[in-house]
């Protein structure tokens, strides 16, 4: 194998190539200015947004998120956060497609319970089926169950995004072995979505072989979101390179780094 230190390995989702493997959300920032700067510092090219009712009669001059995070510059990934049924998730995706002028890449998440925000797998499967039939390109948030991940891939989801830990928990990758099993079976990009708390969590996800990481709170809730955005950019690149480089085997006992030959004793 030739030894390259510059790896050209774009992330390809639904036929489009991205240089960055870090995907970021736009929630929980202090204001739109901070959102914009944090996203720039993260280097992300795919940015998630939520779809919500417009505030009627409230300050029409209020800046709009999409004026700051321009769909011309970023791939906007509308999510279905807050949806607890397949029907609501499908409605939200259709509104998002209209809102974004026919853009059909969506992040599907159907939640089961407010306390854990765990995915409701049966509703997720049902929504994915409807959306795929309707021409959507679905990046799907799911549990770290390898069988469910495979099912979602077989249905035609363009990326499968298992959680590392509950949304907004910052607990890291709680079950790396499940993520590894999902990766072994997968032919579509697998991204860890949710659970990352700090840079090393993102690196671990990438070292496992994940194709990318999606996060929001880990950056937005850091004391210095801009610095954390940069840290996450580096962490994802770092983990990717380490994965491609291939780690040394683990051994129980020591193995000297300096040669034994030529010792003066």
């Amino acid at each position: 194998m030739t030894q390259e230190i510059h790896t050209e390995s774009p992330l390809v989702i639904a036929g489009k190539s991205y240089q960055s493997r870090l995907l970021v959300g736009t929630g929980k920032y202090k204001d739109l200015d901070e959102t914009k700067l944090a996203i720039e510092a993260s280097g992300a090219e795919i940015v998630t947004v939520a779809v919500r009712r417009t505030n009627i009669g409230q300050n029409p001059d209020e800046p709009n998120l999409l004026d700051v995070i321009s769909p011309e510059k970023y791939t906007i990934l509308p999510n279905t956060a807050g949806c607890y049924t397949a029907k609501d998730a499908v409605r939200t995706c259709r509104l998002a497609r209209e809102l974004l002028g026919g853009h059909d890449l969506v992040k599907l998440e159907v939640l089961g319970d407010q306390k854990t925000l765990f995915p409701d797998v049966t509703e997720t499967l049902s929504a994915a089926e409807t959306l795929i039939k309707d021409g959507f390109k679905v990046m799907v948030y799911t549990t770290d169950d390898p069988l469910v991940a495979k099912r979602l891939e077989d249905m035609g989801c363009v990326a499968v995004m298992p959680l590392g830990a509950p949304i907004g928990s910052g607990l890291g990758i709680r079950n790396p072995y499940n993520i590894k099993m999902i990766l072994e079976n997968a032919k579509v990009p697998i991204l860890v979505d949710a659970g990352v708390g700090t840079a090393s969590d993102a690196t671990i996800a990438m070292e496992l072989g994940c194709d990318g990481v999606l996060m929001n709170t880990a950056i937005a809730a850091a004391r210095n979101p801009l610095l954390m955005a940069k840290a996450m950019r580096l962490a994802v690149e770092c983990g990717r390179d380490a994965y491609l480089a291939g780690r040394m085997p683990r051994k129980l006992y020591a193995s000297a780094s300096s040669p034994i030959e030529g010792l003066i004793v």
Binding site: G25, T26, T48, V49, A50, R53, I56, L95, A96, L99
Partner: protein, 67 residues
């Protein structure tokens, strides 16, 4: 005037109001939004010719920060 339900609240519009009229009244012209009436998406090109009826359930949505 007729009463519709707009984003979950009762809202009065003129009896001959189209979706375009509604959007103008809300100062949303030129903004990025999407509209659903009675759970059906009404595409932008149809807003001028889609006339509201009493009791219509109208949702006007936009993109906001989210993960």
């Amino acid at each position: 005037m007729i009463e519709i339900n707009l984003n979950g609240e009762a809202f009065e519009v003129a009896g001959d109001a189209s979706l375009s009229t509604l959007i103008q009244g809300l100062d949303l012209e030129g903004k990025r939004y999407a509209i659903e009436v009675n759970e059906d998406i009404i595409s932008r090109s149809e807003h001028g010719t889609y006339f509201l009826k009493a009791g219509d359930q109208v949702e006007v949505v936009q993109a906001i920060g989210g993960g």
